[in-house]
């Protein structure tokens, strides 16, 4: 509880705070902070993930590069081994040529020796699948056999590997050997044997592909582009950053809309409360939906309605109380001299000596006038006294049907004309209220009397009055209606007819409806004028049923 004194609080003017202190700004700021934290945390996690996998890729690339680095020496070794193999095969072929020479023996001509050696070379060429060319050279003389036609593919499709350096110790072709025994070494001549081998280039192509992969290991395909990993990583960060910003922006917009929808209601409530605090009791909260704020606005409006009704009722009762006090004083002041006046005029009439007939007639007439006016004043004083002494309502359980029965029994013949009709419609179901039976009957009498007198003043041939009762729509109250076929009451006057000394009739005192309204208000009910289905005015009274709270919507 605040220790601040109420008057001090009241003096302090309410001012609208800065924008950063408003609920809307705080909600939006909270959403921004929350969204930024979420998006920032996500972005940080994504960054860590990207860097983590980038490290893994780095390791994988390093491993690949080491493997490619090992492949180079391996390829060199392979080439060297293959070339040595070719060299060995060429040496073997040279030995075969030497052996074949020995087996052939001597005695051949030079031409025959050359033909034989050519056939032997061709035989070797035929036997070795990958041999393309074989050449035996001694000095300027050379025997060459080739089978390029055996490799129809273009030359570029093969790797041509020459092999040289193999020598064969053969007898000179111009000298025939005489004996089959091995010739002396000095009788032999050194022949150079060379060859060209064809090698399938598939391995070379794969090796070149390995080189390309090694060169482009740090490149990544993105769509139709090829980019470096560093560029891709930066692009990933940019893309995620932009996506995060978009998500944050969408979240901000959505949050702003949601916060705005909520804070708008709070702002509307706040504005209306401020207007009410400034004394504008007619201010009402607009429709805010069905959520808690909507319910709060509805309850606040209802509170304002009841407050306004209570104020109106209080004001009415204060006015009526003032009028009652004035009526009591007037009645008291007027009532006291009436009896002496009446006694005085009666003495005047009695003391008339009758000497002058003209004087006697004039005196009798004057006394009659004075007595009539005194009687009129007496009636007015009686009305004033009745209005000033409206009895206190004593509530007790009472059935509406019983009130109607007693009313009809006692006042069923309020009019002496046969054409006039009074219809009493009882409720279809028993309705019990907390009320004062006598005063309620007095109210009904007053309503019906007003209806009959208004109908007569309007010169209706037949006055129709209907008294009815029914439960209200919310079943929390009973509606009692008194309808007539009189001239009715103009809408602009319907509020004022319940004010004291306000009457729609020329001869009315204007106190009956005021007294009735006070009685109804003392019952916790309400009263108003409505159009009547009979064509005239309809006085409607709502009274709370037993156990139901009183309604203060109308006064």
């Amino acid at each position: 509880m605040s220790a601040e004194k109420p008057e001090r609080r009241a003096r302090r003017a309410w001012t609208r705070g800065p924008w950063w202190g408003r609920l809307e700004s705080r909600v939006i700021a909270a959403l921004v902070v929350l969204g930024t934290l979420c998006v920032g945390a996500s972005f940080y996690l994504v960054t860590l993930t990207v860097e983590y996998f980038d490290g893994l890729v780095d390791d994988a690339i390093a491993t690949s590069e080491r493997a490619a680095g090992l492949a180079g020496p391996f390829y060199d070794g392979y080439v060297q081994a293959r070339k040595q193999a070719y060299q060995a095969r060429l040496t073997a072929m040279a030995r075969e040529l030497e052996i074949a020479e020995l087996r052939a023996g001597a005695g051949a001509t030079a031409r025959a020796v050359e033909d034989r050696r050519r056939r032997q070379l061709a035989s070797l060429l035929e036997r070795e699948d990958d041999l393309v060319e074989l050449s035996l050279r001694a000095g300027d003389d050379a025997i060459t056999v080739e089978r390029a036609s055996a490799f129809p593919e273009e030359s570029g499709a093969w790797v041509w590997v020459p092999a040289t350096g193999a020598t064969a110790e053969l007898a000179p072709a111009s000298q025939a050997l005489e004996v089959a025994a091995p010739p002396p070494e000095d009788a032999l001549e050194r022949h150079e044997l060379s060859a060209v081998f064809a090698l399938d280039p598939a391995m070379d192509r794969r090796y070149q592909e390995l080189g390309r992969l090694q060169r482009e290991a740090d490149l990544v395909s993105v769509g139709d582009d090829v980019v470096t990993r560093e560029s891709l990583e930066a692009a990933v960060f940019r893309a995620i950053g932009v996506a995060s910003a978009l998500v944050l922006l969408i979240a901000l917009i959505a949050g702003f809309v949601l916060a705005r929808a909520t804070t708008r209601k709070a702002s509307a409530l706040s504005r209306v409360m401020q207007r009410v605090a400034d004394g504008e009791l007619t201010a009402r909260v607009p429709e805010l939906g069905n959520d808690e704020l909507g319910q709060l606005g509805w309850a606040f409006n209802r509170m304002l309605d009841e407050l306004a009704a209570a104020q109106k009722k209080l004001s009415y009762l204060q006015r009526v109380g003032a009028w009652q006090e004035m009526a009591r004083r007037i009645a008291h002041e007027i009532k006291n001299p009436l009896t002496p006046i009446q006694l005085a005029v009666q003495q005047l009439r009695e003391k008339d000596p009758g000497l002058d007939p003209r004087f006697s007639r004039m005196l009798a007439t004057s006394v009659e006038i004075v007595e009539d006016e005194v009687a009129a004043l007496r009636r007015m004083v009686t009305s004033f006294s009745g209005f000033a002494k409206v009895p206190e309502v004593r509530l007790e359980p009472v059935a509406i049907a019983r009130v109607f029965d007693e009313f009809e029994r006692a006042y069923g013949h309020l009019t002496e004309r046969e054409s006039d009709t009074l219809e009493v419609v009882r409720p279809s179901a028993p309705i019990e209220i907390a009320g004062d039976r006598q005063l309620l009957k007095q109210c009904l009498v007053n309503f019906v009397e007003n209806a009959v007198l208004s109908g007569r003043e309007a010169e209706r041939e037949s006055v129709r009055v209907r008294v009815s009762a029914a439960l209200g729509q919310d079943r929390e109250g009973v509606l009692i209606r008194v309808d007539d076929n009189g001239p009715g009451i103009a809408p602009e006057r319907r509020e004022r007819v319940f004010e004291p000394y306000e009457s729609t009739r020329r001869a009315g005192t204007g106190l009956g409806l005021a007294i009735a309204k006070k009685i109804i208000l003392d019952h916790g009910g309400e009263i108003w004028v409505d159009d009547s289905p009979l064509g005239g005015a309809g006085i409607v009274v709502r009274l709370p049923t037993r156990g139901a709270p009183g309604r203060t919507g109308r006064v």
Binding site: D76, V227, A234
Partner: protein, 219 residues
């Protein structure tokens, strides 16, 4: 063969940015070039040692390992005033160590012509041949205006081991991991592609522009 010397001029722009072709944004260095008119051909002679420097250990190791190194040289003749391309020629040079025959092979392929192959026992000699444009035909003389009022320059964009995305796609058998994995991953890959700022076109790119400019003498 008739040979005609050119009159050269000076006062051209110091540097420029290649427009179109293989260039695509490279900064040109100015370099003196030699131009000759051989018959109906305008040929240029210039060396681009920066494209394959012998001090580049990685490049030298690649060559020594027997991997082929490809140089793509695109020569464009432009009008000096408007930088409008007049003619364009492309030369592809491959330099490779042949371990079987233990020699360096330099294969030169000019646009619209067959390949010329030369062999070298020394690596530096092979590289010097590979990076030198010796009388490379860059335009037809009849296609150029004559006189000092029509000056031309030649831009040469050299790429070492140019990257061919199509060959990568074919070699990767489907285009790499970024396009696999369903629609979401494919969409994410496209989203990433939006933010890829620079795509390398080659292992190394080097661009020069002739300075001073040249013009064909009036006959």
């Amino acid at each position: 063969m008739r040979r005609r010397a050119f009159v050269t001029g000076a006062g051209l722009t110091l540097a420029g940015v290649a427009a179109g072709g293989a260039g695509g944004g490279e900064l040109f260095l100015l370099r003196r070039m030699k131009f000759e008119e051989l018959g109906d051909a305008v040929v240029v002679s210039v060396a681009l040692p920066e494209l394959l420097p012998t001090r580049d250990a990685s490049a030298m190791q690649s060559i020594e390992s027997g991997f082929a190194t490809t140089l793509r040289l695109e020569a464009t003749v432009v009008r000096t005033k408007s930088l409008t391309p007049v003619a364009r020629r492309v030369r592809i040079v491959k330099i490779q160590w042949n371990p079987w025959r233990e020699r360096y092979v330099v294969q030169t392929t000019d646009q619209g012509r067959g390949a010329a192959i030369r062999y070298y026992g020394k690596r530096d000699a092979a590289i010097a041949h590979a990076i030198t444009l010796e009388r490379m035909r860059v335009a037809r003389a009849s296609a150029l205006e004559r006189g000092p009022s029509a000056t031309y320059a030649v831009t040469i964009v050299g790429q070492r081991n140019p990257i061919d995305p199509e060959s990568r796609v074919a070699a990767d058998d489907g285009g790499g991991g970024q396009t696999r994995g369903g629609g979401d991953l494919s969409a994410f890959s496209r989203w990433i592609g939006v933010f890829v700022q620079s795509a390398p076109r080659a292992e190394k790119t080097f661009a020069v522009r002739s300075s001073p400019a040249f013009y064909l003498v009036t006959r």
